[in-house]
Symmetry: C2
Subunit: 136 residues, 2 copies
């Protein structure tokens, strides 16, 4: 059902500092750094593979109260979640519910890049998994 | 410098059990399950997005002595590493060394899908990062 890996997210303490490795050492040109006030984070995508290519997302918490900030405090910087693109997020939500997957959202949330739901790691072999429907 | 995300790897206790979610619930048709005796693991790729699409790799340790098995014991199932494809692994190795990145390999290792090097999480904001050159 998922069409592709949309992005893989890494939590970092500070995006500019992380770009010392990802941009300057590894050579990936990042997109614009964006504030996402609704999620209390700053984000930057590292595009690869041309249009349709899967990206790395850097996430920096801007408040200590979010799950992202708590994950950073508990486990340090590192991999946080995988996001898979689906055709229709409402159908995906219904199908995940029908199949007993542990969906964390009652309704799709408005994420930075589309409408999305998250699945709890207890039902996905330890991986926080985001499913997203992107606008055309 | 990296061309694309080749795969994102998830460590699992048992690949067949993990496919209950990834194949049966999520609907991704896996490739063949392969033994990799040199690494003491079994692996299966979950292809998405057509030719050139980034994949999820499921990794199951087959011996308790490897770093993969130790990661599983210490942290449980979950995200393990990201693999980025590069054009030329020898040049990438030299460039990473020149730039002071913590390369874990003296020479490229023969991985399941090509010649590869790993970078230690201490130089990559907490992410075990694989760079791979795939055969034409």
């Amino acid at each position: 059902m998922p069409k592709r890996i949309d992005h893989v997210a890494i939590i970092v303490r500070n995006i500019e500092q992380a770009l010392v490795f990802y941009r300057d050492t590894l050579g990936i040109q990042p997109g614009e750094i964006k504030e996402v006030p609704s999620e209390q984070v700053r984000i930057a995508f590292l595009p690869m593979g041309g249009p349709g290519g899967s990206e790395i997302e850097l996430i920096e918490p801007t408040s200590p109260d979010t799950s992202v900030a708590k994950a950073l405090e508990k486990r340090g910087e590192g991999l946080h979640h995988i996001c898979l693109e689906v055709e229709n997020i409402d159908e995906a939500l219904q199908e995940m519910r029908d199949k007993g997957a542990p969906v964390l959202d009652e309704q799709p949330r408005i994420a930075a890049e589309g409408r999305a739901i998250f699945l709890h790691p207890r039902g996905t072999n330890g991986v926080l998994l985001e499913l997203i429907e992107k606008p055309e």
